[in-house]
Symmetry: none
Subunit: 519 residues, 2 copies
């Protein structure tokens, strides 16, 4: 109790250097006072971390994020100092309180000594001011705070109460947007983590109207994002690639001409009321998908989005290319790929990714994407890929060239055979395309979880679609086959890339060329 105070003081008074012997701050090499937030640091670094651990985002290094931190230089760059704190392992989970402290200036209380009065053992005598302060503190109601929960369950700005029983959450009238909804406008602090905080699963469970019963297939365990790690890729030069992709395709964000068909927000912003006429109009637009009655409303919307965004796939390809020559075919492939990327670029889930990840997906996946597109377009009878009636590529064109092409074609046509029953189903192939776009197993993804989530949702829809299209057993079989297909595609992709790379760059479509350069 307070009886210790004098002792502590006296100890501190003579504060022996011995205490600090050999202990230096990991951050700035000053004398360490002990372990703070998990790491041996000095007092100043401790205080610094305390103050700033929660505002990483708002601190930026004015130089190049590599400032040296020493006892004398530590004040020059907060960013690097803080960054070093984290790097060496200081842990903000240790912070218990911090943020909330309303800087209530308490009236100064002099050190309180508690004296036991002689008369009554049980009684103590204290300074009145001290007692009052204590009483105030102990009784303090959170009436003045503005805590809110970021879980996304409550409407934003909802005020929380102190005792959990009180469900009548009070709403704040604070003008300052206190809560940032999980997926809405991300708050400045630590955006990414924030995004992951309330994952789709959460909203999907809360959001949908209770009236829609989800029928649960027994065998619903879903597919293997194959626990397989694709080839390691060299660290790419994003800038160059970004340049091309930005300009040439619809990667840029709010493309005014092609407004994104955005439905993913049903998963994002819980606070938006579910607008019935909104989704109604959307689900009406497409009779194709209305037969999939086993899909949840969200899934329907996402499938609908897929349909709508897939329109560019069918955009005509100018016939300035000679489809009877390999070179022409390559150009055409490039054009086709470009259309696929336009489609991807319009998918809300794709747009939600960081540019880095979008690049990564495209870069590593373009072979697969082309392959899937090829499967969609291939006509077995005439042995042609037909983009449209005017744009067909005969298989024979490819039969001439070297061993790489041979290998590729071989693998590819195995796929064609294996998917004969599926690849003509537009819906399924669209879903497959989406699944191939979102490949969480790619290395170097910054937001793998997002990719994973997106892919899983498409997987889920795929299964349900199959269950409508085919009898139960068969659906399952086909589903499994599709899973295998996705894996196979990796192989095909490699072969395809090898083919492309084998050609003179001049022959390649610029997009393909750039992609191949990155390999």
């Amino acid at each position: 109790m307070s009886s210790q105070t004098p002792d502590l003081n006296s100890r501190r008074a003579c504060d022996p250097p011995k205490e600090f012997e050999g202990r230096i701050c990991v951050i700035c090499a000053d004398r360490a006072s002990g372990y703070n937030f998990g790491i041996l640091t000095c007092e100043s670094c401790k205080a610094f971390f305390r103050r700033n651990a929660l505002r990483v985002e708002s601190i930026k290094c004015p130089f190049s994020n590599s400032c040296e931190i020493t006892a004398s230089s530590r004040r020059f760059c907060q960013a690097c100092r803080l960054s070093k704190c984290f790097r060496v392992g200081m842990n903000n989970q240790w912070l218990t309180d911090a943020k909330n402290s309303q800087k209530l200036k308490r009236k100064k209380i002099k050190p309180h000594k508690v004296e036991t009065t002689d008369e009554e053992e049980d009684k103590v005598s204290v300074s009145k001011a001290y007692l009052e302060e204590l009483q105030k503190k102990a009784k303090k109601r959170p009436s003045s705070c503005s805590c809110t929960c970021t879980c996304g369950f409550y409407e934003r700005g909802t005020k929380l109460s102190e005792d959990g029983n009180d469900q009548t959450v009070r709403k704040t009238s604070t003008s300052r947007g206190v809560v940032s909804p999980p997926f809405g406008t991300p708050s400045p602090l630590n955006v990414e983590e924030h995004l992951t905080t309330a994952p789709i699963g959460f909203s999907a469970i809360r959001a949908p109207p209770p009236s829609v019963p989800v029928s649960i297939p027994q065998f619903t365990q879903l597919p293997p994002a194959p626990n397989v790690l694709p080839r390691p890729t060299a660290f790419p030069a994003w800038q160059q690639m970004g340049q091309y992709l930005h300009s040439a395709t619809a990667f840029n964000l709010p493309g005014p001409s092609m407004a994104p068909v955005s439905r993913w927000d049903v998963f994002h912003d819980l606070s938006l009321p579910f607008s019935s006429d909104y989704h109604l109009s959307l689900s009406m637009t497409n009779p194709e998908i209305s037969k999939y009655s086993n899909l949840t409303e969200e899934e329907l919307l996402i499938l609908d989005e897929l349909y709508i965004t897939s329109e560019p796939l069918k955009d005509p390809i100018g016939n300035q290319y000679n489809q009877n020559e390999i070179s022409g075919v390559l150009k055409i492939s490039g054009e086709a790929l470009q259309r696929i990327l336009v489609m991807a670029g319009r998918l809300q889930a794709f747009r939600d990714l960081e540019i880095h990840d979008r690049m990564q997906l495209v870069k590593s996946g373009f072979g697969e994407l082309l392959a899937v597109r090829g499967l969609m377009a291939f006509d077995r009878e005439s042995k042609t890929w037909r983009h449209s009636s005017e744009m067909e590529v005969k298989i024979d064109v490819l039969k001439i060239d070297g061993p790489e092409l041979q290998l590729f074609m071989e693998q590819y046509f195995k796929l064609v055979d294996a998917t004969e029953d599926i690849r003509t189903n537009y819906t399924i192939m669209l879903l497959l395309t989406a699944i191939v776009i979102f490949r969480p197993e790619l290395p170097n993804l910054k937001e793998q979880h997002k990719v994973c989530r997106a892919q899983n949702i498409y997987y889920g829809i795929l299964l349900k679609v199959l269950q409508v299209e085919f009898p139960r057993e068969e659906a399952m079989r086909k589903y499994n086959r599709l899973l295998a297909l996705v894996v196979e595609l990796h192989t095909v992709n490699k072969a395809m890339v090898r083919v492309f790379c084998g050609f003179d760059h001049a022959v390649l479509d610029p997009l393909l060329r750039e992609l191949c350069d990155k390999i």
Copy 2:
């Protein structure tokens, strides 16, 4: 501790273990000073129990109530330490304070009169107990409110911040992982929703186990490049455990006294160099798993880890419980669950998760976990669950009680029947346990991708194991059945939770009680 180390060593060198054994603290395995409060404990555990035996209610485990208590880890979780104290039988009847504290309580309640003493105007005289209470309250949380959110999203007692930015919610417990607020321990209102609706709705869309054909050579490649930068936003998981960095146990979280069996690093970009002799020696240790020659080296290691960490499952359960009464069975269930959680806590992949996610997994999954464990232990012949030869629970014990129990039993035994051929295979059931631990479809996971990855890996191993254990076709069939089983378990979980909740809390094991409280 450090001082007695030599002591111990010298003893060990020449003395029979028996004498030595007599001096080990039952709680933390430090050197015991003698019998304290009825149990052989060390000085520190004695002091600890003294101080905290009467405030059970206010101490909550920040993890999952399964923290291992060792001499070096004992400080990290008061709740688990205290809980262990009680569990091994430390008895607060010996506390002479007990009655005093009753008095204290009464005093606290009764209105305190503040008397101004004559001598000094500024001084007042109050009851000592009252003053202490005030001090405690006031000091606890000097300048912040105690709002908590009831959404069930955050760990209970989680402190909320004023601005929504702070998604790294701070626990009200102090950094040592300890105290939770004396005020509200609000039970999240919506946990049940999580427990029930969540898994089912979403397992349909997520949690993808690898399906049939997974034999593609180039995928055995290891993950990329050490030159990969750790993801900027998510701090590496091990940093989250930084709070233990300064201790001797470093990473031993609620973890093992033995070093964690860590192989998951091969799956991380946080690449520690791959130490070949390390894993080699490990894979030699277990002849059980060497027959699974189709596993990759990494998979073997992970399976091995599973074997090693599963040891605690078999830890004896004290037979102070009457296994012929429901109440005893409930206690035993609690004990069993605790063992499962200890196992989970030792899995590297689990340790790599943030505390929040670990909580989430445990909270929503404990029913499934118990169910799986039950499947492993059930003996069809004798109709008993047999933890060990001394600890058996006859099915009849459960036959008496109400409709909820009936429903549960019915569902459960369907599972028993359905898994007759599998549930006796230890390897498979271990894998199933792991798969059930890592359930990426749970809502609110911060690092769903990690959970997802872990589960996928276990799924992959499971399939391969099945392919060794059974002929190809059958393996596939069983695999699919296991997938379905995982879904079924959700249902069973619901039933089980309902059963537990039906019982008087006093009857429940503290761990179960707390988990049920969240419903």
